[in-house]
């Protein structure tokens, strides 16, 4: 118990929690946007992988860091466009198409990596984003470094939460986006182009997912490894349910998850005699648990996973 308290009272623990949460914030927000528009995007795992490689590779090829982030986002949007085209106007199964996008994005990523770097034994490193300490605020005890001593991408994630929440609830665009996820027929009767709205949402969401992936190679680590996304995409999908499709709760969920993951790493060192795999399992189990707890109350978008066809009799 005392050890637990010790961990909880270190600033580095909270900083790690926020760091771990960052890609999840991007991914969860991205998935949330897609699902709010009525499209489940199981391409997330692959899109995060593609984003991780694309951003890092761009920087390794000489681009600056922000160009790398933008490049990752564009790659994400392209896969989002593909997913959107297949599931929205063509109405194909969102489950199977999403898995297909994940398989495609992953294999294309690995293939490309091998194409560009055929003979390297270990992945080359880049100079990643450096922590940007906000003066005064980052000196606050405990939470100062966690919230104000992170890299620019983490601040971008926080900003994205606020922006997405604002757009969803305060703007005509957000209303239109929510309406195509609730009742596309109603949206179309009011002159909203359902296809365009849905495809646009999937592209925007996929861009965020890809940035989440890029955070891994450009901020958390400094190189691309195979299978480095390690199910984070699937965890994001669980987090969207946990968050009841609300951006604020998504941030909260991701932070809780990050804290738990950071804790599990530290407990490994404290608690002896338990195989390390048990600790590594905990985050996945926590995700399943979160789904179980929230599944009953979920205020899911009514038209989620329901394809919409114009003029179908």
């Amino acid at each position: 118990m005392g050890e637990l308290l010790d961990i909880l009272l270190t600033a580095s623990f909270w900083a790690a929690a926020v760091r771990i949460a960052t890609p999840l914030v991007f991914g969860t927000l991205g998935e949330l946007i897609c699902e709010r528009a009525g499209v489940l995007n199981l391409g997330i795992e692959g899109i995060m992988t593609a984003g991780a490689m694309a951003g890092w590779m761009a920087v390794y090829q000489g681009a600056d860091l922000w160009t790398g982030v933008v490049f990752a986002a564009i790659v994400g949007m392209i896969f989002g466009l593909l997913h959107g085209l297949l599931t929205v106007p063509l109405g194909l199964s969102q489950h199977v198409t999403g898995l297909g996008i994940t398989l495609l994005a992953t294999s294309l990523t690995y293939f490309t990596y091998r194409m560009i770097l055929p003979d390297v034994p270990s992945p080359p490193r880049i100079e990643p984003f450096q922590p940007l300490e906000i003066p005064l605020l980052s000196d606050l005890p405990l939470l100062g470094p966690a919230l104000f001593g992170q890299t620019a991408l983490t601040y971008l994630a926080f900003g994205a939460v606020i922006l997405v929440a604002f757009v969803l609830y305060k703007t005509p665009l957000g209303l239109a986006l929510r309406s195509v996820g609730e009742n596309p027929a109603a949206a179309e009767a009011q002159g909203i182009d359902v296809y365009r709205m849905r495809i646009g949402a999937v592209m925007a969401g996929s861009a965020l997912m890809a940035i989440g992936g890029a955070f891994l190679t450009m901020s958390a680590f400094n190189a691309f490894f195979f299978e480095m996304v390690a199910g984070r995409g699937w965890i994001c999908i669980a987090l969207v349910v946990f968050a009841s499709w609300r951006p604020g709760k998504a941030l909260l969920g991701a932070l809780l998850f990050g804290a738990f993951d950071a804790l599990q790493v530290r407990l490994q060192q404290v608690i002896g005699g338990v195989p390390y795999q048990v600790f590594l399992m905990l985050p996945y189990m926590l995700s399943i648990l979160a789904l179980i707890v929230m599944s009953r109350r979920a205020g899911y978008p009514r038209a989620l996973m329901v394809p919409y066809r114009k003029g179908e009799r």
């Binding site: 665009l173 239109a176 609730e182 179309e188």
Partner: protein
């Protein structure tokens, strides 16, 4: 408000020319010409399947016509061609549409539903205050009151319709299309709707009123256009015509009359004694209910949809359980709980929603005919389906119930609505059930199919079945039922002999009045 409409040549605000639409081999609309003038209420009359809804969906841009042209008068200009296939173009041209199945997002507020699509998508903030002001004045002028911050899912059917009309008015519609707007209203609500429409028309709004109900059409419209099998067969002023003439024009042949011969009721088949079914609220559950159904008897259940009919139907179908009271089925206390128990007990169930509950659209006709019977040793041996036997049975039912399809192996979803209903009817009645629940059995069918369904139900009654008929169509109820009862907020009224009730009285009861009061008020 909408009086600013400046009519085009000869006051015409909308002109359809040569509209033709085909679905595969079916010609839903065949060279339709139509003119609508300012301030006019035009009724588009036709039976189900005549092509009314298709035509309006083309006008509103949901469907693309194969041929033809639509012209709309702008606020300050003459007739202009309307961009086809684009609801937003129709909206911009001042066309508003109230669909038969409301197009409201249930989880959003009334204001959000009205505002949706009215503002430029990239505007950084919604202008909710201005919208509220404009709506307040619109509601005053039109005499329609609705709470703006309420979530749509909590509104009654009548209130939702008011939201739909407000949606159109908010966009300064000069042409308002209403598709079967009275289907879900009580007779008194219909009166209110008509008052609103007359008021709006006097301000210059043009209204297209789609219906298959003759009385209403004569009541509300200035002019009637009759559609039959995709063609316009008559276009005449409402004054100077009568029901009989319109009916014959609409159907194209004399309508066969359905006659219910009096019969002596037999033993009690179903008895509900203070049965209660829990629901999410008073509208969806069933309050303590008393009901007795006998052989050779049809009991009609009237009511605005969403007043507990689903709970009553669910109970008899075995989909929901009661949590208080006693249910006796064929003289025995029924514990129930599952559809299977009801199926094996010999209850025939015709579901409200044919495509959702009635059939598996992607499966073949013979498989759908087997859905309730595949456990019988006639159709299976040790779990293996006797294919030949099952398909032979399907051929029998297809013939016996006149199901028009290529054969037992046809994919069910490709059948017409009427034939799918015949399929369900065949599956249910072929078992010769003693107790039948028929939930909206004729909704959406054309006259021929409606008559067919009614005849089959009356035949079942004659052979000794007892039937509970749930319907929103009061004419249907009064034609078929020996006794009627009304559902309101989960309460089922005592049954009354059909001969002793009037439509007006039923209407008042559907709006919540007690039987005695309704009798007095109606008198």
């Amino acid at each position: 408000m909408t009086a600013s409409a400046e009519p085009g040549p000869e006051g015409v605000v909308l002109r359809l020319r040569g509209i033709t639409k085909r679905f595969g081999d079916l010609v839903a609309n065949n060279a339709i010409d139509l003119d609508l003038t300012a301030g006019e209420i035009l009724a588009l009359l036709g039976e189900n399947g005549a092509g009314k809804t298709t035509l309006m969906n083309i006008l509103f841009g949901h469907y693309l016509a194969d041929e033809g042209e639509i012209l709309v008068a702008g606020p300050n200009s003459g007739l202009q061609p309307l961009k086809a296939g684009s609801p937003s173009a129709a909206l911009a041209a001042g066309i508003g549409m109230v669909h038969q199945h409301f197009t409201l997002a249930e989880n959003l507020s009334v204001l959000d539903n009205i505002l949706l699509g009215t503002e430029p998508l990239w505007r950084p903030l919604q202008k909710r205050r201005e919208a509220r002001d404009k709506l307040a004045s619109l509601m005053g002028q039109a005499g329609l009151q609705v709470g703006l911050e309420v979530v749509v899912s909590s509104l009654s059917v009548g209130e939702r319709q008011r939201v739909e009309i407000l949606k159109a008015l908010y966009r300064d519609a000069r042409i308002l299309i209403l598709d079967e707007p009275t289907a879900v209203l009580t007779p008194q609500e219909v009166e209110r709707l008509f008052e609103t429409l007359r008021r709006l028309a006097s301000h210059g709004l043009s209204v297209v009123f789609i219906s298959h109900k003759l009385g209403e059409v004569l009541d509300i419209s200035d002019r009637v256009t009759v559609l039959r099998a995709g063609r316009i067969v008559a276009d005449l002023p409402s004054t100077g015509t009568d029901r009989a003439h319109l009916a014959e024009t609409m159907v194209g042949r004399p309508i066969p009359s359905t006659i219910r011969s009096p019969m002596e009721p037999g033993e009690v088949l179903l008895a509900l004694d203070r049965v209660r079914v829990p629901g999410t609220d008073r509208r969806t559950g069933l309050a303590e209910t008393i009901l007795r159904l006998q052989r050779h008897e049809i009991i009609g259940v009237a009511g605005v949809s969403g007043n507990g009919q689903a709970a009553l139907a669910g109970l008899i179908c075995g989909l929901v359980r009661h949590d208080a009271g006693e249910m006796r089925l064929f003289g025995r206390r029924a514990v129930i709980g599952s559809p299977l128990v009801m199926v094996t007990a010999g209850v025939g169930r015709i579901p409200e929603d044919r495509l959702d509950d009635g059939v598996v659209g992607d499966m073949e006709v013979w498989e759908n005919l087997l859905l309730e019977d595949y456990r019988q040793s006639r159709f299976q041996y040790a779990g293996f389906i006797r294919q030949a036997e099952a398909q032979a049975h399907a051929r029998d039912v297809i013939e016996g119930f006149d199901i028009r399809c290529p054969g037992p192996r046809a994919i069910t979803r490709l059948l017409s609505g009427g034939n799918i209903q015949k399929l369900i009817l065949g599956r249910v009645l072929d078992r010769r059930p003693d107790l039948i629940l028929a939930n909206q059995p004729a909704r959406g069918l054309d006259v021929g199919a409606v008559t067919y369904v009614h005849q089959r139900l009356l035949e079942a009654r004659e052979r000794g079945a007892g039937i509970i008929l749930i319907s929103e169509d009061l004419d249907e109820l009064l034609t078929l039922s020996d006794r009627v009862a009304v559902m309101y907020r989960g309460h089922l009224s005592p049954t009354m002999p059909t001969e002793s009730v009037t439509i007006r009285q039923l209407g008042l009861m559907m709006a919540g009045q007690k039987a005695e009061e309704a009798e007095i008020d109606a008198a």
